[in-house]
Symmetry: C2
Subunit: 154 residues, 2 copies
């Protein structure tokens, strides 16, 4: 099963934008996300429609965050990228006449829906700011680790 990576990709891009402090072009984001500028625009367009980011044309243009990252949850971003399918399984058909199918569908649908609700709840509990801070912690740790190596080599 091909897995949709739009949420993953756009989060990557947003963290870059937070770190930049100035408009970031699709070209730069594409390089960071190892993809194509058009793909970036395509997915970012959804975020813009939801008022999460802004885009500016021309010199010095590019993408900027439109809202406080502390007020944006991963669930907001998930919806903004088009609310991709969460559960990769589905029903063979939706024939309401077959009682066997009804029993099977109900049993699976209940689980599917529960899983989707939990997924969205979890995403809703994480803000973009929290993710950015997590990244900064990793960065600090990484730098510390590098310095330790330098000192150890003296």
């Amino acid at each position: 099963m091909i897995r949709d990576s739009r949420l993953s990709g756009v989060l990557h891009g947003l963290l870059h934008m937070i770190g930049a402090g100035e408009p970031v072009t699709s070209e730069q984001l594409a390089q960071a996300m190892a993809t194509n500028p058009v793909v970036v625009r395509r997915v970012m367009a959804g975020l813009r429609e939801q008022g999460l980011v802004r885009s500016e044309k021309g010199h010095g243009g590019g993408w900027t965050l439109a809202r406080d990252p502390a007020d944006i949850t991963l669930a907001d971003i998930y919806r903004a990228v088009g609310a991709p399918t969460i559960v990769a399984m589905g029903h063979r058909s939706e024939n309401p006449g077959c009682l066997v199918e009804q029993a099977v569908n109900d049993a699976l649908s209940g689980t599917f829906r529960e899983v989707e609700a939990i997924f969205l709840k979890r995403l809703g509990a994480v803000t973009l700011d929290a993710l950015a801070k997590d990244f900064k912690r990793r960065l600090a740790k990484h730098k510390q680790s590098l310095e330790d190596q330098i000192h150890a080599a003296k």
Copy 2:
């Protein structure tokens, strides 16, 4: 996103097998599942490898359950059909060098794994027998409903 319907389809087929009491051919199962006999054999082959069903060739042959449906959970069946992808989303790439990517992947992976665990736990709590009984309840209710209509029409 195309959703994998093997689990749904095979459950449908298994309920038919339970109701039949004698070997059911791929042809019959295919008709019930609105698909092709080869597709049925393909997916049933996984169940056979796990010892959940048996197949017999020749006259009077077909598919039969190999174990007590009360001892088979939907999780067993899920695994037997090849453990299809549960979460339809994934990471854009697995570049361990990029700290941004690490932060994003960890945040999403945690949620993905939690969701998958819950999914399997739920499937593991439902036996094939329970599903069959649920179907029988629906059938009885349906029959009752039909009779009521006949009586009301008198």
